[in-house]
């Protein structure tokens, strides 16, 4: 201990661990421990990391193919600029093939911004050089498939997500307290998302962006959200509440809002512009794909169960995207309007907007509610109420249950089982055919869970809008009267 302010905040420093390290490194490590382990607790932190490493061989069925093919294609190319373009080009070619075969208008492959590809390219390259070329395999849409991921590669590709989960927990510890951070680290749904996809990587950038906005660091806030948007598009949504918050709370409101929006746009553009054609195609895919899963459009799937409406598949495919555009834009606009009118604070406004996104979107996959869960946990810690507790519960229990039925739960072991030679691809496919026979009877149950989730989102928005405001404010009637 050198008696510096930073080292003095460390709860339980290990006196011998950093003895040989240079003083500057020691300061950095101690600051890190204060930010993460100091506030969460090292045992909890190490336990959470160990749990994630243990779960890392598990993979989602179809998405494992996406990760595998992206790594395979990038690993074969020593030039990162062209390497990162390959998944986008393949998605376009496979979409042409899927459409030509009359299966789907788009092929679901790399439909995300390039941020994660940039993180993965060095790993893909190293793995290819060390273990030989990976062969990409593209299953046709609506086919059961899982890529045989070697457990080590599966772990390595999830290192960014695991690290991001730890940083997110550190931010939650600061924003909502140690208990919330620990709860987040060991929440089964958060663990599921971490083993499934790379959504956790955007979380520190999202929360960091909102935290920066709360502290009046508008450009930094925009840039963090823009970088988050370069990993997955969702953090870009939060530029709206940040700009509105800047308008309300900053002395130089227009300037601050422009700086936030500009910072976001610049950060997003810097990452995405080299592969803009691909990003555009990914956006077209997101706009054009049919809805379902946990969104209100899950009722389309349930309709098929009732014989008179069994032929609704065509109508679903035709109308889903068009209606989804309207419901999403409408839900976001109405929620922004209401949150502004009711003077919600930044966190409530952000949560309401995220819930509006989940309520209005035509497609809500099981991993999408992760940002809403973190934001709801922060809002709960800052202003506890039974309604908020119910919301937090709904935001992780319903997607978890939905995923366990929909993926289904045993699907997560197919990839490692294939890699270890315990099951063949054909064997897994045959097993799935049996499951698919029962799946048709599960559609109404899944639709029910989807509708429940949607109800929770709407309930959350209503609760937020009707509830606490930044300051004691006015009732809706006089406000409307005055506005008119």
């Amino acid at each position: 201990m050198d008696g510096s302010p930073i080292s003095s905040v460390v709860a339980a420093p290990n006196p011998w661990a950093w003895r040989l390290a240079p003083a500057r490194l020691r300061l950095l490590l101690e600051a890190g421990s204060a930010a993460l382990g100091g506030s969460i607790g090292w045992s909890a932190l190490l336990g959470a990391i160990a749990l994630r490493i243990l779960l890392s061989p598990l993979q989602h069925t179809w998405d494992s193919q996406t990760w595998w093919n992206a790594l395979a294609q990038m690993g074969a190319d020593p030039n990162p600029l062209t390497a990162i373009a390959h998944p986008y080009q393949s998605m376009r070619a496979m979409s042409d093939l899927a459409a030509g075969l009359g299966r789907e208008l788009y092929y679901e492959y790399w439909a995300y911004p390039p941020g994660m590809l940039m993180l993965w390219w060095p790993l893909a390259r190293l793995w290819t050089l060390a273990a030989g070329p990976m062969i990409p395999h593209f299953a046709i849409p609506d086919t059961f498939t899982a890529a045989p991921f070697p457990p080590l590669l599966s772990f390595l590709m999830k290192v960014p997500a695991i690290a991001a989960d730890v940083i997110t927990a550190g931010l939650l510890a600061r924003l909502a307290g140690r208990t919330t951070a620990r709860w987040y680290l060991f929440n089964p749904y958060v663990l599921l998302v971490c083993l499934w996809t790379f959504d956790p990587v955007m979380m520190p950038l999202l929360l960091g962006g909102l935290l920066a906005a709360e502290r009046g660091r508008w450009t930094l806030s925009g840039m963090l959200l823009g970088l988050g948007g370069a990993v997955k598009f969702v953090p870009l949504l939060f530029l709206a509440p940040v700009c509105l918050w800047a308008m309300r709370r900053s002395r130089t409101r227009w300037r601050s809002a422009v700086f936030a929006a500009g910072g976001g746009a610049v950060a997003f553009a810097v990452v995405c512009l080299p592969w803009w054609n691909g990003v555009q195609f990914a956006l077209a895919f997101q706009a054009g794909r049919a809805g379902g899963s946990m969104s209100w459009q899950s009722i389309w799937n349930a309709l098929g169960w009732w014989q008179p409406l069994a032929d609704f598949r065509t109508v679903h495919l035709s109308l889903s995207a068009g209606i989804g555009d309207l419901t999403l834009s409408g839900a976001l606009l109405v929620t922004l309007w209401l949150t502004w009118l009711r003077q919600l604070d930044l966190w409530d406004m952000s949560l309401a907007l995220m819930l509006a996104y989940l309520a209005g979107s035509k497609l809500v996959n099981e991993v999408y509610p992760l940002p809403a869960l973190a934001l709801a946990a922060i809002c709960l810690a800052r202003g506890a109420s039974p309604a908020r507790q119910r919301l937090v519960l709904a935001l992780w229990v319903t997607p978890l249950v939905f995923a366990l039925i929909n993926v289904p739960f045993w699907g997560f072991v197919v990839s490692p089982a294939e890699a270890l030679g315990l099951v063949s691809a054909n064997g897994a496919w045959t097993y799935y055919q049996g499951y698919a026979q029962t799946y048709q009877y599960l559609s109404p149950a899944l639709a029910g869970i989807g509708v429940t989730f949607q109800g929770a989102c709407v309930y959350g928005i209503v609760h937020l809008v009707r509830g606490r405001r930044t300051e004691a404010g006015t009732r809706l009637g006089p406000v409307l009267a005055h506005a008119v």
């Binding site: 042409d96 093939l97 075969l101 308008m247 834009s329 606009l333 300051e471 004691a472 404010g473």
Partner: protein
């Protein structure tokens, strides 16, 4: 009063807040108008008319033209030069264009077609569907070269697939088959001009290179219908064993290019 309870709020801040509220309200009203209009335009939302009235796709590199008929048996595609000389017509009408799956013979023209076009990438994809499997044909143009990829998609286990693809022209003046394809010559002439003997001079040389994905058939290239005026059909054959289920597997590809004589 609106926002009066906001401690420390200055008149200029209140003005900004109201402006944002006004802006959001205008956006909301605009959205409502848009939504009503969009909702009324059911045909547009449904997009049921997509490609319904389009019978043919044409892509053009400036050196090579591909015409693809979506519903008929020929022009699958027809590759021609920019001055209108037919080089190769991948014809499903031709009786030699067949696929044999586990010993059962299917004429390509009797399979159920589907197709898509990507004008930006000069790519056309066709699917030919049977009950339990589907053939794919992907046509991509680049310069004076066309790449035709044949794929097979099994929906349930299949053991043996043999595809014979006919390459048709009114009359090839000469054909030189080899182990990897064939070279043929075509005249710049109408059918009548060839049949009357008015024009017998080759104008272009077409090269078709076949690359089977699996083990090559004993005769990759065979000469089909031969008439006194010239050869009408050249066939290529591809073979595939035990394709995996649920994945488009390559049967092989052909590269077509030409040069002026």
């Amino acid at each position: 009063m609106l926002f009066d309870a906001w401690p420390g709020a200055k008149p200029t801040q209140l003005k900004a807040v109201r402006m944002v509220l006004l802006g959001l309200s205008v956006a909301l009203i605009g959205w409502l108008g848009y939504a009503i209009g969009r909702g009324q335009s059911l045909a547009q939302i449904a997009r049921l008319y997509r490609d319904e009235t389009v019978n043919q796709y044409t892509i053009d590199t400036g050196q090579l033209v591909a015409q693809f008929a979506r519903a008929s048996g020929d022009l699958k595609p027809l590759l021609s030069t920019t001055d209108g000389v037919s080089l190769v017509d991948y014809s499903d009408w031709d009786y030699t264009s067949v696929v044999i799956v586990d010993g059962v013979r299917y004429e390509l023209v009797r399979l159920v077609p589907s197709s898509s076009v990507d004008y930006g990438n000069k790519r056309i994809v066709e699917g030919l569907r049977s009950t339990d499997w589907q053939l794919s044909r992907e046509i991509t143009l680049s310069g004076n070269q066309a790449t035709i990829k044949f794929g097979f998609l099994a929906d349930k286990p299949v053991h043996d697939v043999r595809l014979t693809m006919a390459h048709v022209d009114w009359y090839y003046l000469s054909v030189s088959p080899s182990a990897t394809g064939f070279v043929a010559t075509v005249p710049h002439a109408s059918r009548t001009e060839v049949e009357t003997g008015e024009i017998r001079t080759p104008a272009y040389q077409v090269t078709v290179t076949a690359k089977p994905a699996g083990s090559p058939a004993p005769d990759v290239v065979t000469i089909g219908l031969n008439t006194p005026y010239g050869i009408e059909t050249v066939d290529t054959q591809f073979h595939l064993a035990n394709p995996p289920v649920g994945r488009v597997v390559s049967l092989g590809e052909e590269i077509v290019s030409y040069r002026k004589l």
